[in-house]
């Protein structure tokens, strides 16, 4: 097992390569997922606010169109 990890003496180079690659790809994935979740929350908040306001707006635009 330790033979596998030492990789014929090159273990540090090889495991550093695989480790950095895994780390970078996981960080990008997490950052993307987190951004996506935040944008979803923000969008939901905006849409609920707008929905609550919509009836009044619909009336005012109707009035402006008829007059």
């Amino acid at each position: 097992m330790s033979e596998f990890f030492s990789m014929g003496g090159y273990g540090s180079y090889i495991w550093a390569s695989y480790g950095i690659a895994a780390l970078a790809m996981i960080v990008l994935l997490i950052a993307t997922l987190r951004g996506l979740r935040q944008s979803k929350t923000e969008l939901d908040q905006l849409e609920t606010v707008l929905k609550a306001r919509r009836p009044r707006r619909a009336r005012t635009t109707d009035q402006s169109q008829t007059s």
Binding site: F4, M7, G8, G9, Y10, G11, Y13, I14, A16, S17, Y18, I20, A21, A24, M25, L28, L29, T32, L33, G35, L36, S39, K40, E42, L43, L46, E47, V49, L50, R53, R54, R56, R57
Partner: protein, 263 residues
């Protein structure tokens, strides 16, 4: 074809494909890692360090692949003004930049034991560094404008000009003297690499491609959400809400900002 380029259709299609894409990518990664670390032989010259290749080479391919994809999307966004093309280009840039940076880092970690140096300023390494700067420049440029449309125009132009660097990266090992070894897979006379090493290399490359498409889909959704948020914030509806509640500084600012336009 344009039917599939509608954001709503894109969301529906990719939503259905996503679980399969994730499953396929996970399987490819597990099999690829097993073959790369355990199931493949050591190189007769380079010993175990050849295992760095299974990260380094697929990452380099992806760096170039993502750049070509980004530039094509940039061209489509300039020519047809399709919003999804611009969004795809923006979503691709961070993935390409990550893979290019990984190519340089793993290349250094491979160069030190095999060449005796972390870095040389030869054509292959330098052109790859320029590729990274092109990605970073693109990301900085598209985000430097308040108006996303102007940002995408500038970014697309930069991405297209930078395409000249792609063949330079590819052929640099043939055109100039270098420490870097020449191509052993994408050759005119077929791969010169043994199948036992070609298999993990290709499987890792497919795994990275799967990862790219997963991130692409997620980032396109993120960008679509952000555009919708911006559109809602800019719409006059917000002035009403701010006037009614008067509780939010940001909204009050919006109101002041748009007051002139409303009259």
């Amino acid at each position: 074809m344009h039917r599939f380029a509608k954001p709503s259709v894109f969301l529906k299609l990719t939503g259905a494909m996503m679980p399969w894409m994730v499953a396929l990518t996970v399987i490819l990664t597990v099999v690829g890692l097993y073959l790369a670390l355990i199931g493949s032989p050591v190189d007769y010259q380079q010993g175990n360090t050849v295992r760095i290749m299974y990260i380094h080479v697929p990452a380099a391919w992806m760096g170039l692949f993502c750049y070509v994809g980004m530039a094509l999307c940039g061209a489509m966004s300039l020519i047809w003004k399709h919003p999804l093309a611009d969004i795809c280009a923006r979503a691709t840039a961070p993935v390409g930049a990550t893979f290019t940076a990984l190519t340089l880092i793993t290349g250094s970690l491979w160069g030190e034991p095999m060449w005796g140096t972390w870095w040389v300023w030869d054509a292959r390494l330098t052109s790859m560094l320029i590729l990274l700067f092109l990605y970073l420049g693109y990301i900085a440029l598209v985000n430097a404008f308040d108006d996303p449309e102007r940002g995408s125009k500038a970014g697309s132009a930069l991405a297209l000009v930078g395409v000249v660097n792609v063949p330079i990266v590819k052929f640099s090992v043939d055109w100039w003297n270098t420490l870097h070894q020449p191509a052993s897979v994408a050759r005119m006379d077929g791969p010169s690499i043994d199948p036992s090493m070609l298999a993990p290399l290709l499987i890792m490359a497919f795994a990275f491609t799967g990862y790219y498409f997963i991130i692409l889909v997620l980032r396109v959704r993120l960008e679509l959400n952000q555009r919708r948020i911006r559109a809602l914030q800019l719409s006059g509806l917000f002035d009403e809400r701010a006037a009614a509640n008067g509780d939010d500084d940001a909204l009050a600012y919006d109101q002041g900002h748009n007051a002139g336009a409303g009259k």
